[in-house]
């Protein structure tokens, strides 16, 4: 971890699910700090709990025990509505399968989170255009997802994630559905966002090449943190 103050603090978190009478422990007494502006990768085999951890940090789920802090907010004790409000302003999501609404254009998909904020139409447009420029898709803003390539759809997804200027960006296998070239472009874009905008990025990945872009990698196995790799990155 870098010397900066942690923006994310996961303290003694335990998460289990029940399947019928069976209890499945997904995360066990996990403690993790993520520094402000850090690019963190979460790796591990399927079922290791990395997506569950990401969901907890992003406020999509609540822990069975323990605390999750993001900045000064104890999000693990927020109500569903409180979490939804918090996510709008504080978290940007990037998904493996992009999850764009097929009936909306790229512009409208990016604008979606802004509809929940008290912004004028002009301010919304300004923020959407800024995000489109950052991902290099201004010329495709009227296209629907079905008219875009996988890489372009993921760029739209990234633009949607950053359009509200969130504290934290979480990415779940953002390159998992892309070819090598597109994956590299997306990772480069994330890298630029982290460096240029000082965004804190937490990325779940199976791909060691993708993880190499991160400043630190946490390895999870059966809900436990088993290894931590920090690296000094050569920035292009």
């Amino acid at each position: 971890m870098s010397d900066a103050e942690p923006i994310v603090r996961v303290v003694g978190v335990h998460k289990y699910f029940t399947r019928g009478a069976e209890r499945v422990d997904v995360l066990q007494d996990l403690t993790v700090d993520v520094a402000d502006g850090e690019f963190l990768a979460l790796m591990g085999p399927s079922g290791s709990g990395k997506t569950t951890l990401l969901n907890l940090i992003a406020g999509l789920d609540t822990p069975s025990a323990g605390e999750v802090w993001v900045g000064s907010e104890l999000i693990s004790q927020m109500s569903e509505t409180g979490l939804a409000r918090w996510r709008t302003r504080s978290v940007g999501f990037i998904f493996q399968f992009y999850h764009l609404l097929p009936v909306l254009s790229a512009y409208e998909n990016i604008e979606l989170p802004l509809l929940l904020l008290p912004l004028s139409a002009a301010d919304r447009k300004k923020q959407v255009m800024t995000a489109l420029e950052l991902v290099g898709l201004t010329d495709r803003m009227s296209h629907r997802p079905g008219q875009l390539s996988g890489g372009q759809q993921q760029r739209v997804g990234i633009a949607r994630a950053i359009v509200t200027d969130p504290t934290l960006i979480v990415a779940d296998e953002p390159t998992g559905d892309l070819d090598a070239k597109s994956a590299d472009e997306i990772l480069k874009l994330l890298d630029e966002l982290q460096r240029g905008l000082q965004k804190t990025i937490i990325m779940v990945t199976h791909d060691p090449h993708a993880a190499e872009r991160a400043q630190r990698t946490l390895h999870l196995e059966k809900g436990n943190l088993v290894e931590q790799t920090a690296r000094k990155l050569e920035r292009a």
Binding site: T51, T52, N55, A58, L60, D61, E80, T81, A84, R85, R87, T88, R89, F93, F95, Q96, F97, H99, L101, P102, V103, L104, E108, E111, L112, P113, L115, L116, P118, L119, S120, A121, R124, R160, D172, E173, V204
Partner: protein, 424 residues
């Protein structure tokens, strides 16, 4: 405020785009909704008309004087002179503000060919009372009223003049200006020759199949029969079906009823005195099961089916889009927002379909088809009332709301972690 409106407009855009997503399904749902709203509109139009006819007004009431305990009613014409004064004897007795005597004369144009085209049924009355005492004719526009007044004047001057409803005229294949000879059926042996001087104006839709004549023409023919045959016509002593009186209010109605009931003038036959609403209710008693079924079985069944149609379409839509709903929640859409989007889709389909259906029915049935042919009692056709446009809106929106409550609650409760953990 502007930003809120702008955001709501964006939500509306999302709703419209979602509705357009599966055009085939939306079209079928809309068509189903429109058909069912049409059925409800037709049923309620009939019931609304019947309710209007049988409702008891507080002011400007019409009173029907009929033969007591006998159907069809037959009253001597001699009763009319005192009945039109409300059987008033003392100076402070109530007197009606208007009256009209009704006789019914029906017959065949060609007695050797009994057919619908050959049959005519006329209401006989005092011509000058037609514009004020026959329902809705006092609501005609100035041009139509002037035309009716001219016809009335002519009927007063020329006893064999008659006015025939435009549809009846068409059925008989006759034209204004032609003369017709009618062989009496109700009054057998009383054959009358009429001159068709005009039709009822198109605006008087309920009279499209109604014809009117001067009562004096029939009375004179009955008198002539008596002279010629040296005996009265079997129906000649009591040719009047009923007398209609108009009173100012309910209090006067009650006093008038008491005056007529207490009068010694009406003993053989005795008379019955009741408000028009009550009289129509009594007459429609035979149809009460049909109306009950329409009101409490058919109407609710259609509304329930309509809710199911919308519930089915929205349920499928929500089930197909669980991932998208979860995504919206990830982005910060609250359960209320998600519910609003789902409700919005159902309301958009339901409301538009309802308004189009009721509006289309109003235009097609009232303006083009000339009413719904649904002969019950003496009502031949029913029309879609103006308020049906609101029924369409209310039925479409109401059933859409009820139908999509469960799908909307289901969408509202989609758990993000459940949906995304299945994918990861």
């Amino acid at each position: 405020m502007l930003s809120l409106l702008g955001t709501l407009a964006k939500f509306a855009v999302i709703i419209v785009k979602n509705v357009r997503r599966n055009l085939l399904r939306t079209t079928f749902t809309s068509l189903g909704t429109m058909t069912l709203v049409l059925v409800v509109t037709l049923v309620w139009s009939v019931l609304s008309f019947i309710d209007d006819q049988t409702s008891e007004k507080a002011n400007d009431l019409k009173v029907l004087i009929t033969e007591k305990n006998k159907s069809p009613s037959r009253l001597p014409y001699a009763y009319v002179s005192s009945l039109k004064e409300g059987a008033a004897r003392a100076p402070d007795d109530v007197r009606p503000v208007d009256y009209m005597t009704w006789v019914f004369y029906g017959g065949m144009l060609d007695p050797t060919k009994p057919s619908r085209e050959n049959f005519i049924f006329l209401i006989g009355g005092e011509p000058e009372k037609i514009p004020t005492m026959m329902e809705e004719l006092d609501q005609l526009g100035p041009a139509d009223r002037a035309r009716l007044d001219r016809a009335v004047q002519r009927m007063k001057e020329q006893r064999n003049a008659c006015v025939i409803g435009p549809e009846q005229l068409k059925t008989m294949n006759k034209k204004v200006g032609e003369r017709i000879k009618v062989s009496g059926l109700i009054f057998k042996g009383i054959d009358l020759e009429f001159e068709i001087i005009d039709t009822f104006p198109d605006a008087a839709k309920r009279y499209a199949q109604t014809s009117v004549m001067n009562i004096e023409y029939l009375l004179a023919a009955l008198e002539e029969y008596k002279v010629t045959n040296k005996k009265p016509h079997p129906e000649g002593d009591a040719p009047v079906a009923f007398v209609v009186l108009r009173v100012k209010n309910r209090a006067e109605l009650e006093r008038l009823t008491a005056q007529i009931g207490d009068s010694p003038l009406y003993t053989a036959p005795a008379v019955r005195c009741e408000s028009q609403g009550s009289a129509i209710s009594s007459f429609l008693e035979a149809y009460k099961d049909i109306f009950w079924g329409m009101r409490w079985l058919l109407g609710p069944a259609v509304l329930f089916t309509l809710s199911l149609v919308i519930a089915n379409a929205i349920s499928i839509s929500v089930r197909e889009r669980r991932m998208e709903i979860a995504l919206l929640k990830v982005l910060g859409f609250r359960p209320g927002h998600v519910m609003g989007l789902v409700l919005g889709e159902a309301l958009l389909i339901g409301t538009l379909s309802g308004v189009f259906s009721a509006g289309g029915a109003y235009l097609l049935i009232n303006k083009l088809a000339g009413g719904i042919p649904f002969p019950i009692a003496w009502f031949q056709r029913f029309f879609i009332p103006d308020q049906a446009l609101w029924w369409g809106l209310a039925v479409g929106a109401g059933t859409a709301f009820v139908g999509c409550i469960f799908p909307a609650l289901s969408a509202r409760s989609v758990r993000v972690a459940d949906v995304f953990s299945k994918i990861a």
